[in-house]
Symmetry: D2
Subunit: 194 residues, 4 copies
């Protein structure tokens, strides 16, 4: 069975909620999913690195803090440098997601940073393919999937004073599920073609 | 009197409308403003290049088409390569703005591209300083300035089926005016300090 | 047979030379290759768009001029907007390459721009996977593959006064061949798994 | 007297060495300089934050680890979020520098990340203005200033197995000094014009 791992950091629970939605999407796409906290993977020799090694695809997630992925996520990225040196994740699939307290909020920088990490690991980058979002006058900003119009990954919104039960709201969680489903199916296809 | 030039490309008129708002802001900030079309500056030896050379600050603007500044804007950027070679814009101030038909829509890439252009020209990059935008539950997305939360420059929204009379809407035009005002005052201060 | 198309713009011939090396790599990887000039694809209704539609993978290439892909390449990108609107390139593979007259020269911005374009088209991004380049004291800068250390795509160097017969030099051409070979094999695997 | 602070993280000493060269440049430019370690500024309520508040300009520095600024640097950035909320660094000058073990090595991503941080803080971004680097056949890669061709900030090279006594080598240290000198003079001019 295809294996997809999600590694994320969540400061206040919103990113965890989006990670869970993405995990539901992975299941919907027919793959086995592991949800891992970046907090448990900040050292090269501790934590569930074997789960990542066995995965066919890894989805990276982090809030955007002061313009990029968090320090905890970066500790994880740095802890992966031996893996990078030996290119042990080469040819795995990768994807990414982030959240901030505004529509843009420099989330694009975070998604770019996640794609860069994947490219250093020689992984293949999978995009959400939820194309248009809110872009015409008749569209409803509150109900549109991918309402903020991110393409490299999922970029969701959570107000700075909201609880994870409130945000990301349902359409953005569904955008996350679609990313999970797409990664699961792409990984299955990719493994089947090997 | 401090001189600020705005060079922009506009496909359907929305970016022109934002450019005009920024020009109003420059006037409000006490500087003289010139509005130039990138379309007239696509060749190194034709067009009002002297206006740019005499300006204390240049504000770059373009819609985001397929993920970055337009081909017309890029023709202008390429036509500036001799100026770059001789570093004739060194120490001028610079700033940027863009529009697309979604909240993000990869506008961050365009703003980054504009800042890169300015950095190649050894200019100083001025940010809008309209800080928070729509970021808490009580905020109103439709009336917030900088509602989409861009920091490197102004990132506005115009639905794909809207007329320039409709979008960018007033709060984003005011965000533009604030950028113009800020650049005018910064350029005056910068020239005064010389 | 797997089909790979390369769409590139070349100002002085260096990018064309790298495109040809990548094409050799595609052949080496067992796929059929088409070399297309962006110059012939600047309008939505003219040029060999059907070749792109039939391709399993598209490799984008452009020199870096003033910090990003060229105006001609951007004309091609803009001409692809109807295809984007209908998501006709969804699930194709994509990759990218660029050249400038310095080691960095803001080529990273161009590669990021190419990956953004691919992500808007919901394509899968394939990286060169030529990992380390010139990074230790004993390494030789002149003979190292990927000597400048780009990961998202191939970033090659051609001095501003060099002829295409001289630059990119052989190790960077071989880096290009490896990208072509990798894309060919990945596309074959991807199509086989469908 | 104009005050310039340099905040940096250094893993193995190479970035510290570049920071010291930049500090020399600040002195050469006639300003007072403070060298601060990001390690001492990872919490909002501990460390020499007052030095930063009193500075007219802040220069940010970090190695590039796995594609962006380090976790320690990011801890500092996150610790500055209250300052951001109150926009207490608004109108200060900013600049940046980074090092990695290859010519590019995704340093552009780090410099972009530093400029984004500055733009969130509504600071003005100062570029090194060491324009061309190694770009023509007659140029010598080993002796050229800005040899790798970065424009947004200083991007230096240190082989993975080198000692800080060896790398960055002298021309890149001089590039750093020029950045420091330029920031010092720009800050003096900016304060004088107030």
């Amino acid at each position: 069975m295809t294996k997809v791992a999600i590694v994320y950091h969540s400061g206040y629970g919103h990113t965890a909620k989006l990670a869970e939605a993405i995990a539901e999407g992975v299941t919907r796409g027919g793959a086995e999913v592991s949800l891992l906290k970046a907090d448990d993977l900040t050292k090269p020799d501790e934590g569930p690195w074997d789960v990542l090694q066995e995965a066919d695809a890894i989805i990276f997630g982090s809030p955007t803090y002061m313009g990029t992925a968090t320090a905890v996520f970066q500790q994880f990225a740095e802890a992966s440098s031996k893996i990078w040196f030996n290119q042990l994740w080469k040819d795995k699939l990768a994807a990414g997601f982030t959240i901030s307290a505004s529509a843009s909020g420099d989330k694009a920088e975070t998604l770019s940073r996640l794609a860069t990490l994947a490219s250093q690991h020689s992984m293949l980058w999978i995009t959400p393919a939820v194309a248009k979002g809110y872009h015409a006058k008749g569209d409803d900003y509150d109900s549109a999937e991918n309402r903020n119009g991110f393409y490299l990954g999922v970029g969701a919104f959570a107000p700075s004073d909201s609880a994870p039960e409130e945000f990301p709201h349902e359409p953005e969680l569904e955008t996350g599920r679609k990313l999970g489903e797409r990664v699961a199916k792409a990984a299955t296809r990719w493994m089947k073609g090997a």
